[in-house]
């Protein structure tokens, strides 16, 4: 197990290095951030001063080496736009995105698994067919449109929920989050719902497919013959087998939701990391873009590692061996 983990960590470092090279070069090719940031009536001298101040007059390879050296000291660079360390900027926004991602995955999994289990248990029933038809809507409707519709219906027409922003926060056990206040929950509901739709559809369909695959199997018949209730058979035995592909996909999706909830965050003006990254790309704020992608890649690697370990826990037939 330890050898496995060490090998994975080494692979992760290589991935990070290659990715940072690509992103660094890519953003450099897009343009000069000074042209985006500088005031229109600034003259040529002011432009030159800004270029020097941001370190953009040195050759690209030198800028990259300075960057790598700083990263090894724990400094991921300072944002051109905000003039605060890029990592600090990202970590400032992380709790908001974390709240959104966790809430939306909870909705997706909490609703999706029961609905999928029922749809798989009684596939011909009216309810099951409605659930499956509904799931098609879930992954085909564009997030952008659904978000605006949710705002129009629940915030503008009905006035039940707030239309924008993050709610008030409260600190419980040292963790500050808007999920601990009523106002915060009201604010997070619509964006989380918007973000959850796609994953909800995914979970429903995966669960149902898992059910349909496992129910005809011998061990189910054997368990029933042994006298176990259907409830126990499904919720304990079948469920564990369904969980394996489900956990893999949910892990990947959690990472995607966490890193790239840009559209939802833009529409709901949710102050998270997704909005930060798209704004930084538009403004060519290279330190933030690179730092953000470094953080995201690390997170994806970690999530994949956890999923693999969980895999071996769930299915004793799997041994964690290095197949690389």
């Amino acid at each position: 197990m330890t050898a496995f983990i060490i090998r994975r960590v080494m692979q992760a470092v290589v991935v990070l290095l290659v990715m940072s090279l690509l992103v660094f070069g890519g953003v450099y090719l897009l343009g000069n951030p000074v042209d985006v940031l500088i005031a229109a009536d600034a003259d040529q001298l002011e432009r030159q001063r800004a270029i020097t101040a941001l370190g953009l007059d040195r050759p690209l390879w030198e800028q990259y080496l300075v960057f790598v050296r700083d990263v090894l000291h724990g400094d991921l660079g300072k944002s051109f736009v905000y003039n605060i360390p890029a990592l600090q900027l990202i970590l400032q926004r992380m709790p908001a995105t974390l709240e959104l991602a966790l809430t939306s995955m909870t909705i997706a999994v909490g609703l999706g698994i029961p609905l999928g289990l029922y749809a798989g248990y009684r596939p011909q029933s009216f309810l099951a067919r409605t659930i499956m038809a509904g799931s098609i809507l879930g992954f085909s409707l564009p997030t952008f449109w659904v978000g605006l519709m949710l705002i129009m219906v629940f915030a503008v027409e009905l006035g039940w929920l707030p239309s924008t922003g993050r709610g008030a926060t409260a600190t419980v056990f040292g963790i500050t989050s808007s999920l601990f206040t009523r106002d915060g929950l009201a604010h997070v509901l619509l964006p989380a719902l918007n973000l959850a739709l796609f994953n909800l559809a995914l979970v429903i369909r995966l669960t149902r497919a898992g059910m349909q695959e496992n129910m005809p199997m011998d061990y189910v018949k054997f368990a029933r013959a042994k006298g176990l209730t259907m409830r126990r058979v499904i919720l304990v035995h079948v469920f564990k087998n369904i969980l394996i592909p489900l956990v893999t996909v949910i892990g990947l999706q959690l990472g995607a939701v966490f890193a790239f909830a840009v559209v939802t965050e833009s529409i709901f003006a949710w102050p998270g990391m997704g909005k930060l990254i798209i704004d930084s790309i538009n403004r060519l704020d290279r330190p933030v873009v690179v730092a953000y992608l470094l953080v995201t890649v690390t997170m994806f690697v970690l999530i994949n590692l956890i999923v693999d370990i969980l895999y071996s826990v769930l299915d004793p037939r799997v041994r964690l061996s290095d197949r690389s």
Binding site: A40, D41, D43, L54, V81, A155, G165, D183, A269
Partner: protein, 525 residues
């Protein structure tokens, strides 16, 4: 038979009605641009400047029409060619109780060039000051190297900080520790990308704002911002998208306020090079003699554009066709300059006179995410040029890419769509930056992407910049603009109209400089 019980998930709708400011003196503002810092000297950026005006004051203020008004300075005059004297307001207190004196002005002037890592520094407004002289705590004299009549205009952009925080870094302002000003509101909290919370300064020297608590919320997405206004989550929004303008005008819960702004959208042409990369013959080969160097060709291009159609169809009425650099009413705007009438026959005639009876090939470039409807305007101009015989291709790019390619030192394009907001509210700003010959030492032509050069215009402009008498300077600026337009230095398209939408019960005095100020939002009578 066993049935699987479905867990019915009851979604709890928190019946939290957003507290509107109906009874409470609370105001929520929907901003469109991102505020990157509370440090008023960090970045010359309209959202930052707008927020700074809540917390800080300047020696001179600008009113809705960008005319100078007394601020922290009650009187100002040039006592000789190179010295300006400012008499400061007495009895003004900073938010922490300390008195405002001339030393705070000096601390401000010293801090502006010192701020580290500024992507666009305020030194453009303070570098004319070469020295200062504190005559007494409420009188200060500022020296310039040569006669500089625009010093009061420039200083109206510089926010005054407390001398205690002269060396405070940007982070201290963002956290609130150093964000001590003399303005109508005090900073409570700055959450980057989310909101800015302010509370009224009851010891303010000027008119007391109507709001005890103000939250400036950042809602960049246009539709979401309009939805927030309709839902009542905010009481005023800025930058109303033109697509929602008509609907909001007829909505009984919404009040629209608008004013002609200082932003000009124009076409800039490469009149410098003998061969311009995107000016070709009909087969695509670059023409050996750049037709854009001929004023008749430039006039033809201007006549080919149907400005009223663009304003009506694309801007949905939220713009004004332009013939000069600033709309009438602004200092230095010439009443003689009217927008060119749509005249494709006249354009063809001019092209024939210039030696291009069959036109030529052209590619026009522009940004697609910087100005309101920039891409659509460019796409409308393409067919208009086609109609007079110029085979036109349209290329739009994100501003980040476009700006780098189009500006110095690359100058990659031939005809470009750009905008210009005159921050000083008068015509010397566009003349200096867009029309004057590019000159690094003199600091002129910084945004003259076509490298247009007319020594006669330069001479009149230089004379104007050194003329302290307002009346004479205005005449010279008008003369310089008229000369530049007679030579078609640029093709002005339209002036933007700045639009705000408020909920019924709130009134906003619209501003030409696009700032949204909570202190100017008042409850309706």
């Amino acid at each position: 038979m066993y049935r699987l019980r479905l867990r019915a998930l009851a979604v709890v709708f928190a019946a939290t009605i957003m507290t509107t400011a109906a009874a409470a003196q609370e105001l929520n503002v929907g901003l469109s641009g991102a505020v990157t810092s509370i440090d008023p000297h960090f970045h010359v950026l309209t959202p930052n400047n707008s927020v700074a005006r809540h917390i800080f004051d300047r020696l001179l203020n600008t009113d809705e029409h960008q005319r100078l008004q007394p601020g922290l300075a009650t009187e100002w005059k040039a006592i000789d060619e190179t010295t300006w004297e400012f008499k400061l307001r007495k009895g003004v207190k900073f938010h922490d109780g300390s008195e405002f004196t001339a030393e705070d002005v000096v601390a401000t002037l010293k801090r502006v060039p010192w701020v580290p890592n500024s992507p666009s520094s305020f030194t453009i407004y303070t570098k004319a000051v070469t020295g200062w002289d504190i005559v007494d705590p409420y009188t200060i004299r500022l020296k310039t190297a040569k006669p500089y009549p625009l010093l009061p205009n420039d200083l109206s952009a510089v926010n005054i900080i407390s001398k205690k925080y002269e060396q405070a870094p940007t982070g201290d302002f963002n956290s609130g520790r150093a964000a001590i000003g003399t303005g109508p509101f005090k900073l409570v909290e700055f959450v980057p990308g989310d909101r800015i919370s302010l509370v009224r300064n009851d010891a303010y020297w000027g008119p007391k704002p109507a709001w005890q608590r103000v939250t400036l919320k950042q809602i960049s997405n246009n539709s979401a911002r309009v939805a927030a206004l309709l839902a009542g989550d905010v009481q005023i929004i800025e930058q109303v998208p033109s697509t929602d303008y008509a609907k909001l005008k007829t909505n009984p819960d919404v009040v629209i306020s608008q004013i002609g702004g200082n932003r000009l959208i124009y076409l800039c042409m490469d009149s410098f090079r003998d061969q311009s990369p995107f000016v070709t013959d009909k087969s695509g080969a670059v023409l050996p003699n750049n037709p854009l160097k001929d004023a008749r060709v430039r006039h033809a291009l201007s006549k080919a554009i149907n400005r009223p159609a663009i304003v009506e169809r694309i801007m949905e009425g939220v713009a004004v066709p332009a013939g000069g650099l600033l709309p009438e009413g602004f200092f230095g705007a010439s009443p003689k300059l009217k927008p060119d009438a749509f005249d494709p026959e006249g354009a063809k005639k001019l092209l024939t006179e210039a030696g291009y009876p069959n036109g030529f090939g052209l590619t026009i470039h522009g940004p697609n995410d910087r100005y309101l409807n920039d891409e659509k305007i460019l796409q409308a101009i393409g067919p208009m040029f086609n109609r007079v015989g110029i085979d036109t291709k349209v290329v739009t790019q994100p501003w980040a890419t476009f700006a780098t390619q189009a500006s110095a030192p690359t100058y990659a394009y031939s005809v470009m769509l750009v905008g210009w907001g005159a921050d000083t509210g008068e015509v010397s700003s566009p003349l200096r930056s867009l029309i004057a010959t590019p000159n690094k030492e003199a600091g002129t032509g910084g945004s003259n992407r076509g490298r247009y050069s007319n020594p006669k215009v330069d001479a009149v402009l230089q004379k104007a910049l050194a003329t302290v008498d307002d009346g004479q300077r205005e005449k010279l600026l008008q003369e310089a603009t008229e000369m530049a337009m007679a030579d078609q230095a640029i093709i002005p398209l339209q002036y933007q109209i700045n639009v705000w939408a408020t909920r019924k019960g709130y009134v906003y005095a619209p501003r030409a400089d696009e700032y949204t100020l909570a202190q100017s939002v008042k409850p309706a009578e």
